[in-house]
């Protein structure tokens, strides 16, 4: 018998027998595994067209129209997919100089990005320049450590967003890099940068303890790693926090051979990933969930 038929029959059974308190939700236990796919970009920097054939480094690589078909194929394979961007959407080609980010946001909307965080270059036309392009974005911006009070962006970002995919609750929160010294004060105006580690501790408490998320993702534009260990990076954020399953990073245009596994404050593995820049790569992380299985002593198996 086909599984779907079986579930339909079973549903009828539920209605007939009518046992109180048992919703259809309970039947999800019949599925043994669930799979959540996270796909992501960072630092695309207005690279809409592929690199030209004569480019010395990236000839014929990249391009939004190709990324679109890849994303569509992944969504077809697994509808429980989230598409995220870790900032620096703006600046890098004349598309930005001519249209101020309008086309970037419109295309990301067409590709059905679920959420993005804000990079330092997204302030390049000033905070008003970012605000004025928001009508072209059909996706939300998340930033937990930028306080936009008294700026045009006030109330237009959220600290986090929760997605429910196949019954799995996924909390995604955003982090931005220190703007002072990177962005002209005239551009970021009264935006306040808050400590990413303290904010992450708040975020994970809210998402894990209060909201009961099954998966917590940090969408960061802090940068992968710095020579100066005091500068907050994705790697030292991973070490200094807990309950984050995945940090998707940006800013440093880091090409990683594979996602980095870092032990967090609880000694549990956290993944840190970044996929370079300019839409050259798409990152993909698949999370598998099993029902009724005692979490094995050796924890989660990671294949990267």
């Amino acid at each position: 018998m086909k599984r779907r038929d079986f579930i339909q029959q079973a549903s009828i059974g539920t209605a007939l027998v009518s046992l109180g308190g048992l919703g259809l939700q309970s039947f999800t236990t019949l599925e043994k595994t669930k799979k959540i796919t996270i796909i992501h970009t960072n630092d695309v920097h207005s690279h809409i067209d592929p690199f030209p054939p004569d480019d010395p480094r990236n000839a014929n690589i990249g391009g939004v129209a190709r990324r679109a078909s890849l994303i569509e194929a992944i969504r077809k394979e697994n509808p429980n997919t989230l598409l995220l961007d870790a900032g620096d959407i703006f600046q890098g080609t004349p598309y930005f100089n001519y249209y101020g980010g309008e086309l970037e946001f419109k295309l990301m909307s067409k590709l059905k990005y679920d959420v993005a965080t804000i990079g330092n270059h997204d302030f390049d036309n000033g905070i008003e320049g970012l605000y004025s392009q928001l009508p072209h974005a059909n996706f939300d911006f998340i930033s937990a450590n930028y306080d936009f009070t008294n700026t045009a962006m006030d109330t237009h970002t959220k600290p986090y967003k929760i997605f429910l995919k196949d019954g799995i609750k996924i909390g995604v929160f955003g982090l931005g890099v220190e703007l002072d010294g990177l962005v002209s004060p005239e551009n970021f105006k009264e935006t306040k940068y808050l400590d990413p580690i303290e904010i992450s501790q708040d975020m994970t408490r809210i998402l894990k303890d209060e909201k009961g998320c099954d998966l917590i993702i940090c969408l960061s534009h802090l940068g992968y790693d710095y020579h100066d260990s005091k500068t907050i990076s994705d790697l030292n954020l991973a070490k200094a926090t807990k309950n984050i399953d995945l940090i998707i990073g940006g800013h440093t245009h880091t090409f990683l051979p594979k996602p980095t596994i870092v032990k967090n404050l609880d000694g549990i593995n956290t993944l840190v990933n970044q996929v370079g820049c300019y839409g050259i790569n798409l990152g993909r992380i698949d999370f598998y969930f099993d029902a009724n299985k005692n979490k094995s002593a050796d924890g989660v198996s990671i294949t990267v």
Binding site: V64, R66, N281, D286, D290, I302, T303, V304
Partner: protein
């Protein structure tokens, strides 16, 4: 009655699992997929981008001026025609803006050799030429610094012996590479005087180890991109024919 049995079995399972029907994360897999030309191009996206691309291309290709020759930053040492051109254009375009805003004139300009990103080829000059020369978004800033700091700036240039673009500043070094004379607008540098030095925001922040701009008495951000100084200049002239001159020379 097979179905009934199945349903009973189902309820049995549900009850059994009632307390622990929580899904636990068990496995994570990570991949990276390069966006190559083997991927299909989504035609609807391509069609959507095309009018934007065509408009930009048409605008970038429109001819603004002509270059008498081909100029490269490696044409000569210490000062080059193309570097002199960029620094002089920065002065010519930015000084009226600065004067209007501050009531002062720019005393000198310093840009960086590395900031000249392409050659200026002989023939048609378009907006695209300006984008190639200066693909970055750096803008002109004017820092009010002491003569002592200007002397540090001169020392930096003398030591570097690189054709960093300068305007209104003249430097002469001897055969040993030591400073013989440095003048701004034909006058000796007064250590106690405040000079208004135009540069770009990258260098002001210490780029290329140019650490002499800070501390500055005041800083004026003109919101005028280096690239736009070039585009505006190309739009007002017919022909561009810069020359190497004596603004930074070594006595032989």
């Amino acid at each position: 009655m097979r179905f009934t049995h199945l349903i009973y079995l189902l309820y049995f399972l549900v009850f059994l699992n009632c307390k622990k029907d929580k899904f636990e994360l068990t496995k994570i897999e990570g991949h990276q997929i390069q966006i190559t030309d083997t991927l299909k191009t989504d035609q609807s996206i391509e069609d959507y981008v095309k009018p934007y691309r065509d408009h930009i291309q048409k605008d970038l290709d429109s001819v603004l001026a002509y270059a008498s020759n081909t100029y490269s930053k490696t044409d000569s040492k210490l000062n080059t025609a193309i570097g002199n051109f960029m620094a002089d254009v920065a002065y010519e375009q930015a000084n009226p803006v600065f004067l209007k805003r501050s009531g002062h004139n720019i005393d000198m300009v310093l840009l960086n050799f590395g900031g000249i990103r392409s050659i200026l080829p002989k023939g048609k000059i378009s907006k695209g030429t300006a984008f190639k020369l200066m693909p970055f978004e750096n803008s002109i800033v004017v820092a009010a610094i002491k003569g002592t700091q200007v002397n540090q700036l001169v020392d930096y240039l003398v030591k570097a012996k690189t054709a960093h673009p300068i305007s209104k500043l003249q430097i002469i070094i001897n055969t040993d590479g030591q400073l013989v004379d440095a003048k701004i607008n034909g006058k000796n540098i007064d250590p106690n005087k405040t000079y208004y030095v135009a540069t770009n925001d990258y260098l002001y922040e210490g780029g290329d180890h140019m650490t002499f701009f800070k501390p500055s008495d005041s800083l004026y951000r003109l919101n005028y991109k280096i690239r736009n100084t070039l585009i505006d200049y190309f739009m007002k002239v017919d022909t561009v024919n810069p020359v190497q001159d004596n603004r930074f020379i070594q006595i032989k």
